[in-house]
Symmetry: C2
Subunit: 258 residues, 2 copies
């Protein structure tokens, strides 16, 4: 028995706890899984779904919005348009997860407690596994802060660029979960840097040491020295952590935009 069209699971009868759009969204989601559909694959059009579910256009559209918000479907107008299976992007996952932490108290130090644990592990796993192009990519990011910041504004810009370095590094990793956790924290720190006033005063000595850390790291990665890459990253994170300790324990106060 192969089901070839989305339908509600017959299990729940008339129990109308959930609204129709929610039930339709779940049915479509289940159907995508059962059919093994891949990103970009076509979903039935509005008219189709209206007929299949026997519900109105408004209800079907609300269901699609539920799926759209989760990043699971995308819709296009015009001929050849319609609904398609969508791959949840990293940015969207960041945003959705950031919402979870919005009402919770997250301190900078909470983030660094994790960075200290995770980033060295990522660095070690990358040793000897980066292509010349990838290493150049990282060096290119470092060019954005190859001189000491002149003032608070530039300091902030450099901090964000430095976080991009870590996000890029994460993208190169082959453990998708580890990579996501690291890039998520980099994203949060970047947002905090923009919206609050972290890094008010430039500190040339810290800048010099931080940059040297990253240069050493690239060297260790290039030579395939995992242990050294881990150690350098650990030092880098500990330094950053103690630096941030002096900052106020700022909490997240912002939804990240859609």
């Amino acid at each position: 028995m192969t089901t070839t069209e989305p339908q509600e699971t017959p299990g729940r009868l008339t129990r109308t706890r959930k609204s129709r759009p929610v039930r339709v969204a779940e049915a479509i989601k289940d159907w995508v899984v059962e059919q093994g559909l891949q990103p970009g694959d076509r979903l039935p059009g509005e008219a189709d779904l209206i007929a299949r579910f026997g519900m109105s256009k408004g209800t079907i559209r609300e269901a699609m919005r539920l799926l759209q918000a989760q990043g699971l479907v995308e819709t296009k107008t015009g001929p050849g348009g319609g609904s398609f299976v969508g791959e949840v992007t990293k940015d969207r996952a960041h945003a959705l997860l950031a919402n979870y932490f919005y009402f919770r108290n997250i301190t900078i130090d909470d983030i660094y407690e994790l960075r200290v644990l995770l980033e060295p592990e990522l660095a070690a796993s990358l040793a000897g596994r980066l292509s010349a192009a990838q290493l150049d990519d990282l060096r290119g990011i470092m060019a954005d802060y190859d001189r000491a910041a002149a003032g608070p504004e530039e300091e902030r810009a450099q901090h964000i660029a430095s976080l991009r370095f870590h996000a890029k590094l994460a993208a190169f990793g082959d453990n998708a979960i580890l990579s996501f956790f690291i890039s998520f924290m980099a994203q949060i720190l970047s947002d905090l840097t923009v919206y609050n006033h972290l890094y008010a005063e430039p500190n040339h000595e810290l800048w010099r040491r931080g940059r040297q850390h990253q240069l050493d790291l690239l060297d260790a990665l290039d030579r395939g020295e995992a242990a050294r890459a881990r150690a350098v990253m650990a030092s880098h994170m500990e330094m950053a952590r103690s630096l941030m300790r002096e900052q106020e324990a700022v909490v997240m106060k912002r939804f990240i935009a859609e």
Copy 2:
């Protein structure tokens, strides 16, 4: 100038790249942030929003669905009903994040690479900080697997209960990010255990050692011995990791339900 009602940012003029519901949802989200609304706080009713935004009922409702899917609003019918700011629950955040990994290749070992790093740290941070009630809570969960499993089915049930132990431990931590990451991984492993057939064969020796680990852990936590708690958990994770290594590198193949 205090804005007292949701409205679109005047910045973007007639640029209609995003659909109206999306724009309305963003406007409401921004408004919630600006007003500093808290979970449970009232949002304007449908009729209100229709008037304020000058859009149709359908458009407004689709916008609310976008927010509902993210867990940011909840709606109730009837007198006193309406839309309210909702706190994103842990379960919903789990599900939304699991969607991100659905099309990516996640191996069991990826998860254990992280558990080995994170769980010992959590254990150490909890030493001497758990109340008698919390310790009893953990012991209560352990009661669900106080005897060796007789068959594959019971083995699986015990594995899930054991994952509940770790999730509960995470809930007691005061680093919300660390706690979430750990509980998320426990949730994934639990789902995999249910929907795939992990843990086919009972292994009494492993069961005995795993249980002894947890007993030692509780003792260390009770006595406030952070270093020992960390070491015990590290052993526990390493053992579990090598056990799971023998399982096939199963990837996630399932959306988590709404």
